[in-house]
Amino acid sequence: MRKIHLPQKLYMLLIFIFLYAPIAVFVVLSFNDANSATNLDGFTFRWYKEVFDDRMLMQSLRNSLVIAFLSALFSTILGTTASIGMYNFRGAPRKIFQTISNIPIINPEIVTGFALMLFFTFFGRLCGFEMGFMTVLLAHIGFCTPYVILSVSPKIRQMDKHIYEAALDLGCNQLQAFFKVVFYELLPGIVSGFLISFTYSLDDFVISYFTCGPDFQTMPIVIYNSLRRPVYPKISALSTMLFVVIITVLLLTNLRDIRASKKEQK
């Protein structure tokens, strides 16, 4: 490993300043006493208190979390079973399956959103339902599942097939063999698929915007609606809090990974 020279350090520092500049704006605004984006007017914690009294904002946060959890759960189940089934495909059928599965990843989000909107309004008129919680959930499961497949499939390929057969030989039925052996082999892929789905769902604006209907709102949609008004300090406060939580979780898992790899080296 070569040492990193000063110009290189400087370059990386500049990139990081660029990446974090707009986030710093929100952290500053969340402590700003003035209800404005241009005037700084003393330090305050009041937005952090008021956020919890804002019913609409709290409701939208709850909606976002429920949607993110359910879509991560269902897409993990759907994606894991699909990955196992797909593993048994060969040649052209596998290629076709994979290509169709990747469509939501490759297709521009706005096209996916628009297409789903057409789909839900068409069948909503036929079967008499309106867009809302269910349609957002279905849409989110749809765009999360391909990511689960992408993270579980490699684990299936790496797995030693004989341990599954060994479990069967030792008297497990297929279901037991799956839950007692295979599941643990695939677990890292399943967990990362779940986490990717959860975060993508939590952050999604475009597809939710097209499929949420008139009465259902997630956090990003509330943020969008408040963009046209002067900046909303409560949203800054709430986002800063979410951001701190996420960073802490990430740092902790990262540190744990590093410790684990250190132990392995010993």
Binding site: P22, P108, D203, P220, S239
Partner: protein, 263 residues
Amino acid sequence: MRSKKLALPYAVWMAAFTLVPLILIITNSFQDSSGHFTFDNLYKAWEYREVFLYSLEIALVSTLICLLLAYPMSYMISRMSEKTQSIIIMLITVPMWMNFLLRLLGWVILLQNNGPIDTLLNLIGIDVQLKDNDGAVVLGMVYEYLPFMIMPLHTVMSKIDKSLIEAAQDLGSNGFNVFRKVVFPLSVPGIVSGITMVFVPSASTFLVAQYLGGNKKMIGDIIEQYFKSDQNTGSAIALCLMVVILLFIIITNQFGDEEAVGV
């Protein structure tokens, strides 16, 4: 484990929620509001050809700038110790956890007249319009999608076998030749997938041009505009966008390993 049937639920799912919606986009593109066959929507979409070109231009410039910024960055990261690498990569992805709209608004505040950057520049006697021009739109796109370029580049570069580089040095290559003959060719799959991952979303994104470009419109903004008023024209424009993106992906895939794309 052996059963192909496990893929059945997802196959049904994809047919319902991926294929049928796309078919609806196609059928809606060729219908008027009362359901009769027509080409009118495509004519209307054609009227937006300049917006299309503007979007592709912005996306192309943003992709190039992302590549230029990300390439040296990824190379530097790939030469650090593994622990530092994973921390730096994590720090690069962290801003993406803050909602896209908020980060966009952050730039609006930073770049506005009498905003922090404008005030600083005025102090040293520079007076420029920072917001409401194409430069600001490109800045927004580069900001939004830079991590999507750094990550695939870093993935391929960190996998380059160090002994290949040492072998090239032993055989008498100088630093530049090591780069030209070893590092660069091996990083091509990362470049290809980075280009796709930046170009596709930046060509189709909406709101960025409206907020940073002074109410300019990109093709995503036009689709959003038709979302509630005229779904047939909206579908036709979405169909055209999809075809353009598909062509782009097919062309870029000619230059590299297609497995790397979309991961």
